[in-house]
């Protein structure tokens, strides 16, 4: 089995494979942020901090202990989730932009603390050994990504997910309906952080070298752009947004030095012409049902109402 998978990976173009892995990791990270910002509506500008915690946890576990890679990832994710919950407890009392700036500040603090710790090798960064796992890395990343997509889709429409959406739409009304806002917010924060931690662990082992400065403000912004570009709260949108933005620097490579210029311009352009994100407000179940004729189109509904 492992042999066959290895052969399969070897068959593919390494450059393409690298882009695919980048996309897979981006999807995991963006889905995590989507739970916090998209579904629960808590703007977080510090998602890179959780990714950083996961990446360093995973790297250190690999260096110090000899445990299977899957367990390693789980531990890194849990570590990030614990940090997320610990942080979430005090700061989730804040709302809106105050929360955003607090998460940003927290991420900067994590970065600077990691830059001064011996265990993270300070500013030199850590070289991460390849994981001991029979399954090749690209397959691993995509397995986790697919699990993340399936999990998010089910979570979104579960009792838990609906409570989160209620908090996003109106906190006071949600509270009046008996939803424990603080608990749900912390749980969503921990869940998002968990996914960021797992994504960070995969990132660390794929890149093979991590440095605390890699997980700065721009990394958080990258993830936020993916979620907003795809459409806040939409799983399919987040996947599309993550794929586009993770691949964009590669596809723009032919204009080498203008690459980031175009990237910045593209963000503005997309926001101006599609302010709710590419798939914001698009409901796939509705679309399918409508095309099958099971549900009237919006125009017909309006006619009936008038």
């Amino acid at each position: 089995m492992a042999e066959a998978l290895n052969n399969l990976v070897q068959l593919m173009d390494p450059y393409l494979l690298q882009i695919l892995v980048n996309i897979g990791i981006a999807i995991i990270l963006a889905l995590g942020l989507n739970i916090i910002t998209g579904i629960t509506g808590q703007l977080s500008l510090g998602h890179a901090a959780f990714m950083s915690v996961g990446a360093f946890a995973s790297a250190i576990i690999t260096i110090r202990f000899n445990i299977p890679f899957g367990l390693n990832l789980l531990l890194s994710g849990l570590m990030a989730a614990i940090v997320g919950a610990a942080i979430g407890f005090p700061i989730l009392r804040l709302t809106g932009d105050y929360l955003a700036i607090c998460t940003l500040g927290f991420a900067e603090i994590v970065k600077v603390v990691f830059l001064n710790m011996d265990i993270t090798n300070k500013a030199l960064g850590l070289t991460v050994p390849t994981p001991k796992s029979p399954i090749p890395m690209p397959i691993y990343v995509w397995l986790v990504a697919i699990i993340a997509i399936i999990f998010s889709s089910f979570m979104k429409d579960s009792r838990f997910g609906r409570a989160l959406k209620a908090i996003r739409d109106d906190e006071i009304a949600a509270e009046a309906m008996g939803i424990n806002i603080t608990r749900y917010k912390i749980e969503s924060f921990a869940l998002g952080a968990f996914m960021a931690g797992v994504g960070g662990g995969l990132y660390a082992h794929f890149i093979n070298y991590i440095n605390p400065s890699d997980f700065g403000f721009l990394k958080s912004v990258d993830m936020l752009s993916m979620v907003v570009l795809g459409g806040l709260g939409s799983i399919a949108g987040t996947v599309v947004g993550a794929s586009i933005l993770a691949a964009a620097p590669e596809f723009l490579r032919f204009m080498s030095e203008y690459r980031m210029l175009v990237y910045g311009g593209l963000l503005v352009f997309l926001m101006v012409f599609r302010p709710n994100g590419l798939l914001g407000g698009v409901n796939f179940t509705d679309l399918v049902l409508r095309s099958l004729g099971r549900k009237p189109a919006i125009a017909e509904v309006r006619e009936k109402q008038t």
Binding site: T37, L43, P90, I91, R93, L94, D97, Y98, A100, I101, C102, L104, G105, F106, E108, I109, K111, V112, V113, L115, N116, I172, F217, L218, V221, L224, S225, V228, L229, L232, E257, Y258, M260, L261, Y263, G264, G265, L266, L267, V268, F269, M271, V272, P275, N276, G277
Partner: protein
């Protein structure tokens, strides 16, 4: 010793305050965190440098030129990237601001190169003046003086002029202000121009102070200034000044106490702590939840 650090801190803090004012004014009016503001500050520093080195201009002329250039830039930026998004969600406007920030930073990298450039030494003669046991340099005096003049000027515009009144009305209630016959779009453009001019002045001053201007200087300064704005209570002009000064002093004291490697974290640690105790910032007004 303490007095000396206090002087250094106030000089640094007043530059933070200058940048923070732009954040706070824009936020007060359209509730947008203008992440590209740090890039305006960086551009201001470069325009000042260009005036001083290539055109051999006087430092005050250079500062004025930088302010005028950045005013125009702020207005153009608002027109291109924020005005079309006035009606859409605040997050899209935020992403748009981030896009502008990336764009401007890369543009600066391409135009000016990756290495840090310094203002020539003769641009402003630095002498040390004795003030009791402490020393204050003419440069620090210049920074504190220029910042004070600009901030008093801003207070005058906001409190005493007609357009300032319109600004306050718009920040109070956007729609009602429009109904009262205020040209809201013009007011917003004016706010961007004002904030950008202050940031540009801050950029030139910091350029002389640290003698290094580089394409990526905007990000950290912008984040810290934003932290200062939130610390003072976002939307409040005196709050931004207070927050800037506090962060500057705290940073200098922290470095003097031997935590120099934690320099960038000090401002944010204070910010997080203050917000936990007083979630609207020091001078911010309590937001009442409407049920």
């Amino acid at each position: 010793m303490l007095l000396q650090q206090l002087i250094n801190g106030i000089a640094l803090g007043s530059t933070y305050a200058l940048i923070a004012l732009g954040y706070t004014m824009v936020y007060g009016i359209i509730a947008l965190i203008n992440f590209a503001h740090g890039e305006i500050y960086m551009t201001g520093a470069f325009v000042g440098l260009f005036m001083v080195t290539t055109l051999k201009a006087n430092i005050f002329v250079a500062m004025a030129a930088a302010m005028i250039f950045c005013m125009a830039m702020g207005v153009v930026m608002e027109f291109v990237a924020y005005r079309p998004l006035r009606k859409s969600s605040r997050l899209s406007a935020l992403i748009s601001a981030i896009g502008v920030s990336i764009f401007l930073q890369t543009l600066a990298l391409m135009v000016f190169g990756a290495d840090a450039k310094g203002y020539p030494d003769e641009v402003f003669p630095i002498r040390q003046l004795h003030l009791g046991s402490a020393e204050i340099s003419t440069l620090q005096l210049l920074i504190i003086g220029v910042s004070a003049v600009l901030m008093i000027g801003l207070e005058f515009i906001v409190r005493k002029t007609k357009i300032g009144k319109a600004m306050r009305a718009t920040s109070e209630d956007y729609n009602t202000a429009a109904l009262m016959g205020i040209n809201v779009n013009r007011i917003i453009s004016f706010t961007f121009a004002l904030g950008s001019a202050l940031a540009a002045a801050g950029g030139v001053l910091v350029g002389i102070l640290f003698n290094a201007v580089s394409f990526n200087m905007g990000l950290m300064a912008g984040l810290k200034a934003f932290a200062a704005a939130v610390l003072g209570g976002i939307g409040s002009i005196p709050g931004a000044m207070l927050g800037g000064l506090l962060l500057g002093v705290a940073e200098v004291l922290g470095v003097a106490a031997g935590y120099s490697s934690y320099r960038d974290a000090i401002a944010f640690a204070i910010l997080v702590l203050v917000l936990l105790v007083k979630p609207t910032g020091l001078l911010g007004q309590k937001i009442h939840k409407k049920v």
